[in-house]
């Protein structure tokens, strides 16, 4: 396994300890619940914003804890939702008179942990609301499934509610804003390689040298279908063909465009994808108001990328523009 790892069992705690050590003064780490929190949280003048999910998606979510984004994140182990206990303890710790907003990417495990954790925290008198993110168009929403997954578009929901909460918005207002952003956000991803969870030590699935998985989620589970490798431009065109008609995004729309790396793809390649997406959207009469090219929500070391669109209006754009100060920074 080509990884920097000591004992796979301590992968997550050691990462979190490193994160806290690198951000003294701004972040605090509470080992008992895998909790990374703002050193100054909870703030009684703002709603606390919390997200948990499996680990392995870094920088999501522990590295976007900070001013203007999350107040705390309580990840589970690699690709495993946090135990409900972590959610419960985190909600209690983050309790603010203005309440706690729990962000949940739509996966069965996460929903159950947050439902149970919320109930327990409410029984202790903590006001909590859950906001579910489900931006992945690869999953057909139907009676037979648990619905669309929450993937990289999650970043925009966090950013928007994070900014609004700094500006004093109350819990109901944050729910409105978060749902509104989620409703205009769509993502689709593609994997060129399978990822290797540290505890497994080998790739999650076999992918031939000339194959790719189209419509993957962020946990290394296989995607919608296996296809032959194609050129960067062709891949972007196919992703856009899935994403654009889904909302749909129309000529005249102004959007945020995100090319998110899945962990093993260098940023040079992400810009090659961005280029085509920008050109194609422009041809369709869609204006790119904001651009995001980097890693936001990954699958460990998977080579691959996802493309996200968010339809902007003045309110959303204003919130996306607002300042924030989180651990993933360059300076």
């Amino acid at each position: 396994m080509k990884k920097f790892v000591n004992d796979p069992k301590s992968f997550v705690p050691e990462m979190l300890e490193g994160l806290a050590l690198a951000n003294p003064g701004t972040l605090k780490y509470i080992p008992a619940y895998n909790l990374i929190m703002r050193a100054d949280a909870p703030n009684e003048n703002k709603v606390s914003i919390v997200q948990g999910s499996g680990s392995g998606h870094e920088p999501a979510h522990v590295m976007v804890v900070g001013q203007g984004m999350l107040d705390a994140a309580c990840p589970g182990d690699v690709f495993a939702a946090p135990p409900m206990d972590y959610v419960y303890e985190t909600a209690k710790l983050m309790a603010s008179p203005k309440g706690v907003l729990l962000l949940v990417n739509n996966y069965t495990g996460d929903r159950m942990a947050f439902d149970m954790g919320k109930e327990m925290a409410e029984a202790d008198g903590v006001r909590c609301e859950i906001l579910t993110v489900n931006d992945d168009v690869a999953v057909q929403d139907s009676l037979y499934t648990v619905g669309r997954r929450g993937v990289a578009g999650n970043f925009f929901v966090i950013k928007a509610v994070g900014a609004a909460s700094e500006q004093g918005a109350d819990l109901d207002e944050l729910l409105r804003i978060g749902r509104k952003v989620n409703d205009v956000t769509r993502t689709m991803g593609v994997a060129l390689t399978a990822c290797t969870p540290p505890a497994k030590g080998s790739p999650l699935f076999d992918l031939g040298g000339d194959e790719m998985e189209f419509g993957v989620g962020i946990h290394g589970e296989p995607g919608r279908e296996r296809r032959s490798l194609a050129s960067a431009d062709q891949i972007v065109d196919d992703l856009l063909d899935a994403v654009v008609p889904d909302l749909p995004y129309n000529s005249g729309d102004r959007v945020a465009l995100m090319i998110n790396g899945l962990g093993g793809t260098p940023i040079s390649e992400l810009y090659i994808l961005y280029r085509r997406a920008h050109q194609r959207l422009t041809e369709r009469g869609i204006t790119i108001g904001r651009s995001y090219v980097n890693e936001y929500c990954t699958s460990l070391d998977m080579a691959g990328a996802s493309l996200t669109l968010v339809r902007l209006d003045d309110e959303i754009e204003g919130l996306l523009e607002a300042p924030a100060d989180v651990a993933i920074r360059v300076f």
Partner: protein, 204 residues
Amino acid sequence: MSLADTELVVRTIADTAIENEKYFGDLDSVVGDGDFGYSLARGFEKLLEGWDDLDRTDAGTFLKRTGMVIASRIGGTSGPLWGTAFMRAGGAVAGATDLSHEQVVAMLRAAIEGIKARGQSDVGDKTLLDALVPFTDALEAGTITEAAAAARAAADATSGMVAKRGRAAYTGERSRGSVDAGATAVAVIAERISEIWQKQGASS
């Protein structure tokens, strides 16, 4: 079934989960995300860490406490599902110390209802329910050996099914052709309990 028997069953489930960490994880990586074995193993390790301090007032209490440790300490989908199953099982036999065959079956039925409610799932969705329900049906009608065989047959049969719940459901038709990890875990555990039960029956 004495309280010691109940303890032995729970202990056997825990040992089996820990020993099969890699196997269960590999099963979950075919169309899932590979964490199933790891989640179960870490959770049951936690259970064993506090094993001696678990409240053993009666079988119901013991099972409920077990469920609470699991639900609060195992992550992923399995923590809430398995935790709920144990808690409901304990609730179904609250106050009882020695369990009759009927009580054991009633307890399993309660666990099944708990999983269905928590997971919004049912038989046919290609989950652990597809082994646990046939196991319970067979146990109601016969012996643990027969029940274990039923669980195994049912778990193997999940290979022909399309997943409708759990992460495997995202792959749709592609989930056909491989067994469900949860259902197979149920079969492996059932076989192990059956085996130990027979040795123990022989020795007691």
